[in-house]
């Protein structure tokens, strides 16, 4: 058990030193690479704390999506605004004010951390009541799935997940509205191309596997969607421009698929005289899989759009044909 304790200490030290170093430097690229390492260690921490569902999402997003997103952005001249500093207040005679401000904010942040730590200590000292966790395990049998996290996401707290998908849709619409997508990558050369050739099918298979296995083991729509989006990131980095993401109406349908499938199921149940999203236990498994499949497509479409950084435009050749 001592070995485990030392491992915990090293893990926590790695997290804190990586975060500090990532935030202390003014070199954008260095900061992003350190942040990627931070994400990787974080995935290990989720595994260590018995949260494999969270670890799966963190692995797919931290290693695949957010790293590629940030690295591409800091190397891109079109993102110069990220690196430029906003005009600081300390121009003339304002230096004192600036120092005072910095100290005040720092002290307030420390106070906040202390307060939170105190609250945590109080919470841990009392024996956990666990009423929510107990309610979940008591009702797991009628939820249609046997993985408690999926049961919470798609059944007990399905309202929350519906709204979460709406938040994702809003982010996608925001990215859509801000302009056209980045032009894409040059072909990465034969080595990475050869890798992508079997990596992409493997990732798509893994996404399908995670979606299916989510009913009874860690996995589900969010992890599967993130893995599917990672497949698209690999394709884009290998020089494929559109990565199979549809344009126009088909894309719109994919983006709203999660929310609309959720609403359709919920309203359909209302018509049948059930509460909104109150699945009959016999159908619950099938309905959850249906919603999850649509949600996976919507999440993947949103995350791919996020990597594109804007509205995808049809490939030049196609545009000429249609116009």
């Amino acid at each position: 058990m001592t070995a485990m304790l030392v491992l915990d200490i090293l893990l926590v030290l790695s997290l804190l030193s990586l975060a500090t170093a990532a935030l202390a430097t003014n070199d954008a690229r260095r900061s992003v690479i350190l942040f990627m390492a931070f994400g990787l260690v974080l995935a290990l921490a989720w595994g260590r704390l018995l949260a494999p569902d969270v670890a799966l999402a963190e692995a797919a997003i931290g290693a695949g999506l957010s790293g590629a997103l940030l690295l591409t952005a800091v190397r891109d001249q079109a993102h110069r605004a990220l690196r430029s500093s906003r005009k600081p207040v300390h121009e003339r005679g304002r230096a004192n004010l600036r120092v005072t401000l910095e100290w005040t904010v720092t002290l307030l942040c420390i106070a906040l951390a202390g307060l939170l730590a105190w609250a945590l200590a109080q919470a841990f000292d009392r024996a956990p009541k666990d009423t929510l966790a107990q309610a979940v395990s008591a009702n797991l049998a009628i939820s249609g799935v046997s993985n408690p996290v999926t049961a919470v996401l798609l059944n007990f707290r399905a309202y929350d997940t519906l709204l979460e998908l709406a938040v994702l849709l809003t982010a996608a619409l925001g990215i859509f509205a801000l302009g056209p997508a980045r032009p894409g990558h040059r072909a990465a050369g034969p080595v990475f191309d050869g890798l992508a050739r079997w990596l992409v099918p493997a990732l798509i298979l893994t996404a399908g596997y995670l979606l299916w296995v989510g009913a009874h083991a860690p996995g589900g729509a969010f992890q599967a969607g993130a893995t599917l989006a990672a497949a698209a990131v690999v394709l884009r980095l290998a020089g494929r421009r559109s990565v199979g993401l549809p344009t126009g109406h088909t894309l719109h349908v994919a983006m709203v698929a999660g929310v609309s499938m959720f609403l359709a199921v919920g309203l359909g149940l209302l018509v049948l005289g059930r509460p909104f999203l109150g699945y009959p236990p016999a159908w619950a498994g099938g309905l959850i899989l249906l919603i999850e499949t649509a949600a996976m497509l919507a999440i993947a479409a949103t995350l791919v759009l996020a990597f594109f950084g804007g509205r995808p435009t049809p490939a030049p050749g196609v545009a000429e044909k249609t116009s």
Partner: protein, 94 residues
């Protein structure tokens, strides 16, 4: 007997990992570090996975473990190539 083999493989795998990271820390420049890394971490993971596969004795899990090893092998080879190419290009440019 299998237990002993599994333990031996696991421990030697960890040994290769440690050798790899010490090499990464101690060797003088990028190219020699590349060399230390790509050999040590592939062999390290390979031995570790062989040990764990013997230990689980579940065919499906063992297959998944081998798949993981192949994925890391391919990824590590490809990124070592990309990093070296990038470094070389920068050198010839400047």
């Amino acid at each position: 007997m299998i237990e002993v083999m599994a333990s031996l493989l696991t421990v030697s795998g960890v040994g290769f990992y440690l050798a790899g990271s010490i090499g990464l820390l101690r060797l003088p420049d990028l190219y020699s570090r590349l060399h230390a890394l790509t050999k040590a971490d592939n062999l390290g993971l390979g031995l570790l996975i062989a040990g764990l596969a013997l230990h689980t004795q579940d065919l499906l899990i063992a297959l998944k473990l081998v798949l993981i090893w192949l994925a890391v092998l391919a990824a590590s080879a490809a990124s070592a190539h990309l990093i070296a190419q990038h470094a070389r290009r920068r050198e010839t440019q400047s």
